[in-house]
Structure formats: structure tokens, C-alpha cells
């Protein structure tokens, strides 16, 4: 390369913005891509979170270890399941006569006493809800009082709560979208409910099956074969495969057309002023990186700033792809620089030389 990279960056930026009409077209294209990308990301995030909410409502993240029909489950099954690396909690429940009837409609009462205090009770079951029945840690404080549990939310922010109950191998939507599984002390369990991180449910199901194989079988209630896939990651990939090539292709086309129309004559002048082929390629790469990178990064920044609820999965942001683009661009620039250094010529020659 004949021109230092810093000077090339400055010169490229000057060239990009030196023509108002082309600059306007470029800015418009960038803005459109940025807005489009932001819309796609928000749409992806909404789709993913909606699906996660649906799956969570169906008990996604729950693995059930069961004995043969009607038999009592060996209590060691729960101990083995709880020992599997990655399991949040495991607790035994008994066989139930009416699982489907249970839940909030069956009488579990959730009352917001104040913005921070929630009262849960199960008055009609005859079994008091106690603090010992809570599986999920993370609550600031709990108090068993008058047949109910008072749950203190930290700063009014919702915390997922999981409680299990004697005859409730199910899961119930409650408490600001958190989950409740209600249980009480039992004598003859038929199930062991294993609480796992939802995104790990498929992997951990295999580990739990291996750990509890001598006690019974396992099932993953929420994941019917049709729901087993895609995972959120796969869903993101599907969305990206569908939208990103289209938008990237259209944008590349616009930028390339603008560059061709704008800079063909300029390139001849640069060549006249001793810019090497590698310099011109590098300017092109810088221009593409700038014109494509700015709207992409702007879209990401906009989405992140607007994403107050942390609903956007990090894989949507395509950080790996951005890093890959930087690496590839650097390699290409270095390769052209090397070729240029090898190809520098002198022009003292004679025919046949």
C-alpha cells in the first residue's frame, strides 16, 4: 500500500460525503436498512418472547420423573434428579386425581397487599401453604401466616416463584408472569417434579433420564414432538436466514450502484496520484464497512436502548457475524497490501525484457 490506512480512512470519508446527492441517497439507504433491521430484531424478540411465554405457561422447563402406573416412586429418584448438574430444584408429588382442576381456578389465592407484598394462600384445600413448600430461591423474604405465604417482591420487581403442592404436577401462571407449582408434604409420591432452566430442558432431560433410569421414566410435559423445536436459538436463526440475506443483498446492491456511479472517474484520478490498487481496494472496504456497519450498529444500539425489559436475546444481535466481518475485512485488506508491495514496478525495460 502506498497510503497509510489512517489517511485512507479520512480520504474515504471525505469522498463519501463530498457529493451531496450521493450522500443523501446513501444516508437514506442507511436509514432504511437501520430501521428495517431494528424492526426485524424487535419482531424476532417479540416472537421469541411470546413463544417462551407460551411454552413457560405450558410448563416448559419442567421434567417429570414418574413410576409405573399407580406405584409409589422411590424417594431416591428425586435425590438423584436433584444431583444432576444444572437442575434448579426437584421435589416429590403424589399421584393426583384431578391435576387439571388444580391451579389458580382451584382456589389458590394470590393477592397483592401492596406493590411489594403479595399474599398467597390455599384456604380450601385443607393444606396450608408454607414457606417450606417454596422451591425457587430468590425471594427477599417470606412469612407463613394464617394459612398463606406473604411474598415480598424486591423493589416491586417481579420474581418467578415456584411452589409445589401435594397433588399438583402442573404449573400455573401467576405473580406477574412468574410460575407457581404448589406442593405440600406427601407420604407416597408418584412423581418427582424437576425444575430445570427452560433453555436446557432437552439436554438436562437426557441427563435426568440417565440418573433416574432405575426408578422410572421421565417425560417433558410441555414439549410434544411438534413443539420440541425450534429452540429460541433456532428460531432466531430462521428469522435471520429469512430476512438478513434479503436486506443485506438489497443494501449491497444500492451501495455498490452508488459507488460505481460516484467513483469510477475518481478512481482514475487516485491512480494518477500514485494510489495503488491495494489502496483503492482498501478504500472500498472501508467504505462498505462504514456504510453497512453504521446502520447495523445503529439498529443494534437503538434496539438495546429501547429494550428496557431485556427481551432481546443476545444471539439476535449477531455479534459473531459482526466480529467475523471485521476479521474477514482485515484479512482482505492485509492480503491486498501484501500483493501491492510485491507488485510495485519500475519501468526501465526493453522489448523482450
Amino acid at each position: 500500500m502506498n497510503v497509510p490506512i489512517a489517511k485512507l480512512v479520512v480520504e474515504t470519508m471525505r469522498a463519501v460525503w463530498s457529493r451531496p446527492v450521493w450522500a443523501l441517497i446513501t444516508v437514506a439507504a442507511c436509514a432504511a436498512v437501520g430501521a428495517g433491521l431494528a424492526a426485524i430484531i424487535v419482531d424476532d424478540a417479540h416472537t421469541i418472547s411470546a413463544r417462551q411465554d407460551l411454552l413457560t405457561a405450558r410448563g416448559w422447563g419442567l421434567v417429570v420423573v414418574s413410576s409405573a402406573a399407580g406405584e409409589t416412586l422411590d424417594p431416591r429418584a428425586c435425590a438423584e434428579a436433584a444431583g444432576v448438574d444444572g437442575v434448579i430444584a426437584a421435589g416429590p408429588v403424589s399421584a393426583t386425581r384431578d391435576v387439571k382442576a388444580l391451579g389458580l381456578d382451584a382456589g389458590l389465592s394470590v393477592t397483592e397487599v401492596s406493590i411489594e407484598v403479595v399474599r398467597m394462600s390455599w384456604p380450601e384445600s385443607g393444606v396450608d401453604l408454607t414457606t417450606a413448600g417454596l422451591l425457587t430461591p430468590g425471594l427477599q423474604s417470606l412469612a407463613g401466616l394464617g394459612g398463606g405465604v406473604f411474598y415480598l417482591r424486591e423493589g416491586g420487581v417481579s420474581v418467578p416463584v415456584r411452589v409445589s403442592r401435594l397433588d399438583a404436577p402442573g404449573r400455573y401462571q401467576a405473580l406477574d408472569g412468574g410460575l407457581l407449582i404448589v406442593r405440600s408434604e406427601i407420604d407416597s409420591p408418584s412423581y418427582c417434579l424437576v425444575d430445570v432452566p427452560p433453555e436446557e430442558v432437552e439436554n438436562l432431560a437426557l441427563d435426568i433420564a440417565a440418573a433416574t433410569v432405575s426408578f422410572g421414566t421421565i417425560s417433558v410435559p410441555s414439549l410434544s414432538p411438534s413443539e420440541a423445536s425450534p429452540t429460541p436459538g433456532e428460531l432466531v436463526q430462521q428469522h435471520r436466514d429469512r430476512h438478513f440475506p434479503l436486506i443485506a443483498g438489497a443494501f449491497l446492491l444500492i451501495i455498490t450502484a452508488v459507488r460505481l456511479l460516484r467513483s469510477r472517474r475518481d478512481r482514475a484520478i487516485y491512480r494518477l496520484l500514485r494510489f495503488g490498487r491495494a489502496d483503492l481496494w482498501t478504500m472500498g472496504i472501508i467504505e462498505y464497512m462504514f456504510l453497512m456497519g453504521v446502520p447495523v450498529m445503529s439498529a443494534f444500539a437503538t434496539v438495546l436502548l429501547a429494550d428496557q425489559g431485556n427481551r432481546v436475546p443476545t444471539q439476535v444481535l449477531g455479534l459473531r457475524e459482526a466480529a467475523l466481518l471485521c476479521v474477514v475485512s482485515t484479512i482482505v485488506a492485509v492480503a491486498f497490501a501484501s500483493l501491492s508491495a510485491v507488485g510495485r514496478n519500475t519501468h526501465q525495460f526493453a522489448p523482450g525484457a
Binding site: 502506498n2 497510503v3 489517511k7 480520504e11 463530498s18 484520478i269 519500475t346 525495460f349
Partner: protein
């Protein structure tokens, strides 16, 4: 600084432009290459630049790394100012033979362009464009400058100013200018007439 052509022959397509040309010029100085259209003036300059390979004979240009060309019609970055057009010439900085440069402002003043520093190149007249193109190259203080029809289509006042600029450059540079214009070649130290192969 030296240009030497030995038994040089150039062919364009199927037509021989000239044959057995022998010249040896040492700089600084102003050399005019004249001849009718199609006599091979531009091709000769191109061969001195190393862009056209001679069919016979040889060319020696010393130092080869400090040869600059100002083409016809003064190509400038039209959407950039005069000052920026000169700045761009300083970006490619690999020439180890480059002597100390004059500043851009000094160069603009020398070429009587100092009052147009911030004017966009697209608003310049033909003569002003040629002077900017010459100033852009002069900024690099080349050892050898090749100028191709730099006064073509200019009014007499502009031709005079461009010729003065060429003479100013020739005081420290070996300038070879291909031209039809008598006002230019009459100011030259040496005239090469390609039509007659005579010096």
C-alpha cells in the same frame, strides 16, 4: 534526471507511429513534443510512463519512481475544493526520492490559485483546472513531469498562464509536454517533432 530513448519504435494497432527514435535529455528543462494528431505524442508519453511497451528499442527514465503525468482535460476531484485536490496528492507518500515539499498554500500562490483555495473544482475554468492539475503535481516536486496537451481548448490568457506554470516547473524539473500549441513549444528548450523525427 534523465530520459533516454534508443532506437525506439512504437506501433499503435497496425500502424507504425515512428521508428528508430533516439533522444537523450537531462533535466531540468522544458521539452516540447510536437506533431500532428496521430503522430504518437500521447503514446510516447505513455511509453515514458511505462504504460506502453515499446515495439523496438529501449527507454531509460531516471529516476523512474519520480515521474508524474498531467493528462489532457485535467482530471480533478470535482466535488472537492482546490485545496483538497492538492491535499490528496500528498497522501501517497511512498516516494523515497521525494525532496522536501512546499506547502500547499505556497504552491497555490505560485500558480496564482490562492484566491480560489476553497472553490469546488467543478466551478473552475479550463485554464484554472490545468493549473490546479499542474500545482497538484508540482507539490510533489517530481524529477520528471509529463504533460499531455495541457493547453488544449484554452483561451489565450489561460494558455499564457499554463505555459508560465510549465516554465516555472521546468526550472527544477525535466518537463516533457506534448502539444500542438506554438506558444508552448516556442517557450521550450528543446522541441521534438515526431512527424519529422527531427530535434
Amino acid at each position: 534526471m534523465r530520459i533516454e530513448a534508443n532506437s525506439l519504435s512504437l506501433i499503435a494497432g497496425n500502424r507504425r507511429l515512428f521508428a528508430d527514435l533516439n533522444v537523450a535529455w537531462d533535466g531540468p528543462g522544458l521539452i516540447a513534443v510536437i506533431g500532428p494528431s496521430g503522430s504518437g505524442k500521447s503514446t510516447f508519453l505513455s511509453s515514458l510512463m511505462g504504460w506502453t511497451r515499446p515495439d523496438e528499442g529501449s527507454i531509460v527514465v531516471q529516476p523512474a519512481s519520480s515521474v508524474w503525468l498531467v493528462p489532457q482535460n485535467a482530471p480533478l476531484l470535482d466535488s472537492r475544493t482546490v485545496h483538497e485536490n492538492l491535499e490528496v496528492a500528498l497522501l501517497a507518500d511512498d516516494d523515497t526520492l521525494l525532496p522536501s515539499r512546499r506547502s500547499i498554500d505556497e504552491t497555490l500562490a505560485a500558480y496564482r490559485l490562492d484566491h480560489q483555495t476553497n472553490v469546488l473544482a467543478k466551478h473552475l475554468s479550463g485554464g484554472e483546472r490545468q493549473r490546479v492539475a499542474l500545482a497538484r503535481v508540482a507539490l510533489r516536486q517530481p524529477h520528471i513531469l509529463l504533460a499531455d496537451e495541457v493547453t488544449a481548448g484554452l483561451d489565450p490568457a489561460s494558455v499564457k498562464m499554463v505555459t508560465e506554470a510549465l516554465c516555472e516547473l521546468a526550472s527544477h524539473t525535466l518537463v516533457v509536454v506534448a502539444t500542438h500549441d506554438e506558444r508552448v513549444w516556442s517557450a521550450s528548450d528543446i522541441v521534438l517533432d515526431l512527424a519529422e523525427r527531427a530535434i
